[in-house]
Symmetry: C2
Subunit: 703 residues, 2 copies
């Protein structure tokens, strides 16, 4: 990381007068005036406030990625006219050693300071701010102004020399060993300056001695920070690896990867499919639960309460005599088969993600081994899951807050540790919002302490505050409302909220057009073009997106009036012809290739919506900060009719001179052309180009 | 105050999992997994967040007034489907005894809860929130749904009876003595219910026994709050008396109240003017500093460095051989004269406000008595105030952070205490932004602990973050940028910011069109109409406003190119003919009478700007919440030309039916008329009606 200097941790108390706990303390301190006076007299005259980024007054960690530069902002000010200096202090969460990076006053009128932190490692960082009065700088500034006004500054020069003398004394005594060479050099240099100063009687000569740049630089190297003000909060940043913000996920149930109709698929079958998935350009292969499936109250096809002997059950009813969350469903194969699958994926430079659903079938081994983790009813039966009047009799929930929950939390943590130890570093967590939030905060932190490269995706479709809370307490990624945002207005509004609110600091959406639980009405009986549209939206609006297997075949069979798949593979074996006519695998491969080639599409917060005159055509873009990669997408949201109209490029943002030209490569068709001005006519039609993706390069650059 | 119940303070630790200090703690707790697990396992599953109002994560007190109802909002939610209950807990800052007020879930989808607190006393309050799982309610709700779905609920009934039994046991053992009668009654009642329940074998009969309203009410009276979640912050509210938000101030220098030209005015002269000031309708008479004025480096007329023997000096150069901040300038009279003046003002139901400027002339007694409070230069001279290259040689500043500052802070506090003891409860503080912010926070709290009715007005014209900070740390009122907001756009933007940002919770602007230091260019050589316009704006945009003496005479003599008065009374004696031709005293009296008669104008946050087609006419209004008083102001901002145009009343907000009629009283002219629809043509001209003030009453009310 960017390190200006290494300094020893300060042992002085951190007081900038704004410790939250102060508030209650002050309630009674009022009665003890003397103490209260001392408290506040000790507090610093410098205010450091509105430090960003931070979430909920520093309660939660901000998220960043390896290689990110994070801008840190704060209001820093003091009464009167003193000049201030400030730095960002930063350390690893598990270390006491602070580094620092400089801050600069960006806007004096608003007392706004800023600085940059660069993160090089996948780990947890702590940062805060320290500011102090720049005594020498203040003196120097005032003295120069007086000189310019023709005032006598003899006394000022004596005062300035005193400041230098004081610094020199401190420098000689200091045990600070940051830069011993510079220290030695500066001691010699400042001693010489003072000697010459004391020997001279010429005001202007003396002024020149103290006001020259070398003295300023030497003095700036050794500020007196004894009285420095430390911001009263230490703020956390969790720095993830690249896959946390960027990746294309392919979701599948291993049992549906077989080739013979009606025959249960296995890890071997799934392994055989990996090259094909790689060819489509996916980064992550995410498996629905792979654990033994219960048989008590097993669900039949289409979630039926009636289970036929040949029904395979829901993989979310976890646990049987054959094991629980650390075991593999025998019909899928062995642990060795699993390992072979994972190894093959890694060879193909893909990662395997597992689906962790903390719930049990009534046959889960825990129920016998740890009945104390569950709730039993007055008749001695176990309490199954319900949302009255709905009952989920194939599922029982653990009690996260029961008297024996400590041991249970440990066991749940060990599930993640077990699979992490098998090389799995991505977990998709099923319905985390129906489990304990404090548990998630704890377990994510526990796992990431050992495996900081672990990524957690929260599969919560629930109220906004809970969605946000799960992301705040540590989930690396989150499912989103994307599946229900269809119109241009709804999409723009939702993504603007995600990107321009505080959520940008902690909530990373992973966009899935469909999931095993969600089949949006938009795709019921919908044509191929509808699938293409939703796919391109997912893959270009966010750097993280995912696709359920079968989507490439445009499977459009929804249950009438419900946002669910008909004959969902959650309850039965599927066997598909992966090369069936009408598949969109080529398009998927192209889009993933485009995502890989264009760094702008690997970023999230750079999404901006632009003007299109046709409300059925959405026009948006993403640029890198230095504009070396600029991608724009014009997409029709209408899968049934042709749509055409003008769109307007943000040529000023693009760095194109007013009325000038830029070069456009349309990446789906390979067409290339020149645009003069900022207007383009687009013609989109369902049978062919549902969208156009432009990479632009300025020809006439703004000066 | 609104008290639902009195309960004993809880001694259980306050943990909702979001203690700020946790963040740093967790850094090392990670290494001790067991402890960490216990910490979080103990934390509650209920999230309480985004509690408002609060300022800077609860660091500063919110401001309210006696009689105010404060809406408290929060997001409160938990994993799963349990029903929750929540209350606002409130106490006096100096007491341990909590009261509580109910909260209600206003919007389930947003997990938004709200409740009201009413403040009856002028003192400091603390509030927070507590929430818990409503076990019985959750059970009851689920059981009713199952019954409605025709399900068997025999087991559920047994479970419900168990909850009642548990409550009954707790009730018998409880030492909670809040309501002994209700407790006795409920014990008997619930015992009977259970007895009947146990005796019956009929499912529907049993269901009726447990699900009826009386049982619900009894159960709701005794929730189990052992596991309740307390919000992790205690939030402060300082409740001021009415004069803090509402009042008309008359500012004057006592020495300018004489009647004979060139003769120094006295308290006796000032006292003679009180009835006239009362007649104009003012509430507060605010005096520029009344202390002995220094003679060393005394300033001459117009801030001249050359002082003639007869020059009276600036009242802000405080202190001479005759005393300091607790003394009275001999030329103004004696302490008895001062007391007589204060008494006379009180008889007339006006208050006296003093101007406290913490700075000293070089002749202030402190300099000899406490040289350790000041800074001396290498040649032994005292360091005077400066802002290089500007020098203020008639002023020296105390050192707020020096080694002897404790004693000095005490002495400064005693200045406020001294005058408070003389019956003064309003202090206008000069240039607080050039003094220590921690000092202000401390001293205001100290004074208000003894005299909670004390009002502090911050005279800071500086950078926004400092303006805001002074208000946050306790100043009851603040000067504002009003004097520099002249156009409709600037005025609307500024007041919208004040009213619609977080500042509404703590920043109360007191609007002064001019001050001894500020003579805006708008009023230089300006006609009477300009003075009327700025006066009406000040008096109707904010419930607090002030006027410098001489304004009623439309004194328009500014120094060319500088926003200052020519021949300012800061440096000389003024003698005025208070009834000079062209004075606006009648208008002032009328406006103050209108302010007194119309409660809507005594409120601040109710200001709203409405549409006017002429950009030189600003149209705004204020309503009480129940719409029993609705005032609208149409004002021309052009003092030189007539302006006319349409304005549109917000008839929907006014409760007038669409296209219906309302009655209008124009309060400056006494004209009355009916309006149908929402449009009115106004014709404003400089020689007559610069503004119209409408009181409206719906005729055709919206149903």
């Amino acid at each position: 990381m960017a390190q200006e200097r290494k300094i020893k941790p300060k042992k002085t108390p951190i007081i900038s007068g704004s410790d939250v706990s102060d508030v209650s303390k002050r309630g009674w301190v009022i009665k003890e005036k003397k103490n209260h006076l001392q408290d506040l007299a000790a507090s610093s005259p410098i205010t450091i406030e509105h430090v960003s980024p931070q979430i909920s007054a520093g309660r939660f960690a901000v998220k960043r990625e390896v290689g990110d530069t994070m801008e840190v902002w704060a209001n820093i000010f003091k009464d009167g006219h003193d000049l201030l200096k400030a730095v960002i202090l930063v350390r690893y969460a598990d270390s006491d050693e602070w580094w620092e990076a400089p801050m600069y006053e960006i806007n004096h009128g608003l007392a706004l300071w800023g600085g940059d932190l660069w993160f090089g490692d996948n780990r947890r960082y702590i940062y805060t701010i320290e500011a102090w009065v720049d005594e020498f700088g203040t003196w120097r500034d005032g003295t120069i102004k007086k000189l310019e006004a023709g005032q006598n500054v003899v006394l000022e020069l004596v005062e300035g020399a005193d400041i230098v003398r004081k610094t020199l004394e401190r420098l000689k005594k200091t045990t600070d060993v940051r830069d011993p060479d510079a220290r030695k050099r500066d001691i010699a240099f400042l001693t010489d300056v003072l000697k010459a100063f004391d020997a001279s009687n010429d005001e202007y000569e003396c002024a020149d001695m103290l006001l020259n740049d070398e003295v300023l630089e030497a003095m700036d190297r050794w500020p007196d920070r004894e009285q420095a003000t430390r911001y009263d909060r230490e703020l956390e940043v969790f720095v993830d690896r690249e896959r946390a913000p960027f990746g294309a996920w392919y979701e599948m149930d291993v049992r549906s990867q077989g080739t013979e109709p009606g025959v249960h698929g296995t890890f071997k079958d799934a392994e055989a499919r990996l090259p094909e998935i790689k060819e489509m350009g996916f980064d992550v292969v995410y498996l629905m639960p792979i654990h033994p499936i219960g048989h008590t109250h097993r669900k039949g096809k289409n979630n039926s309460l009636v289970c036929e002997p040949w029904d395979v059950g829901s993989p979310y009813a976890i646990g049987s005599e054959e094991g629980g969350h650390k075991a593999i469903h025998p019909q899928l194969g062995t642990m060795d088969d699993f390992r072979s699958f994972v190894r093959r994926a890694q060879e193909l430079e893909m990662e395997v993600a597992l689906d962790i659903a903390i719930q049990c079938s009534p046959d889960h081994p825990w129920i016998k081994e740890h009945p104390e983790w569950f709730t039993f009813r007055p008749d001695g039966t176990i309490k199954y899951a319900e949302n009255p009047p709905k009952k989920y009799q194939d599922i029982v929930n653990v009690d996260f807050y029961g008297p024996e929950s400590d041991a249970m939390w440990m066991e749940l943590r060990d599930i993640f540790m077990f699979w992490a130890n098998e090389g799995i570093r991505i977990f998709r967590v099923d319905n985390p919002h129906t489990k304990s939030v404090p548990f998630w905060e704890w377990v994510i932190r526990e796992v990431q302490t050992v495996y900081p490269d672990t990524i957690f995706l929260a599969e919560a479709f629930t109220r906004p505050p809970m969605m946000q809370m799960l992301a705040k307490i540590g989930f690396s990624q989150s499912y989103s409302y994307f599946a229900w945002r269809e119109s241009r207005h709804d999409l723009e509004e939702y993504f603007n909220e995600l990107i321009h609110s505080e959520m940008r600091e902690y909530f990373r959406p992973n966009l899935f057009p469909t999931t095993p639980d969600i089949m949006p009405f938009y795709l019921h009986d919908a044509p191929r073009s509808a699938f293409i549209i939703r796919y391109i939206l997912a893959a270009t609006l966010s750097p993280s997106y995912g696709m359920l297997n079968g989507y490439e075949l445009c499977e459009n069979d929804g249950i009438y009036g419900r946002e669910e798949f008909n004959n969902s593979e959650k309850y039965e074996i599927k066997t598909r012809d992966w090369n069936a006519e009408g598949n969109i695998k080529d398009l998927i491969a192209t889009i993933n290739w485009i995502r890989g080639e264009n760094f702008a599409l690997q970023l999230y917060e750079n999404l901006r919506f632009y003007t299109s005159e046709n409300d059925n055509i959405m026009f948006y873009g993403k640029m890198t900060e230095n504009r070396d990669n600029m991608i724009f997408v014009a997409i029709s949201l209408d899968p049934y009719h042709g749509q055409a109209g003008r769109i307007w490029f943000p040529t000023e943002e693009m760095g194109v001179s007013f009325g000038g030209r830029f070069w456009v490569e349309e990446l789906l068709s390979g067409r290339e052309f020149e645009v003069r001005g900022n207007e383009l006519w687009v013609n989109l039609y369902p049978a062919g180009n549902q969208a156009e993706i432009y990479r632009v390069t300025p020809i006439d650059r703004a000066s």
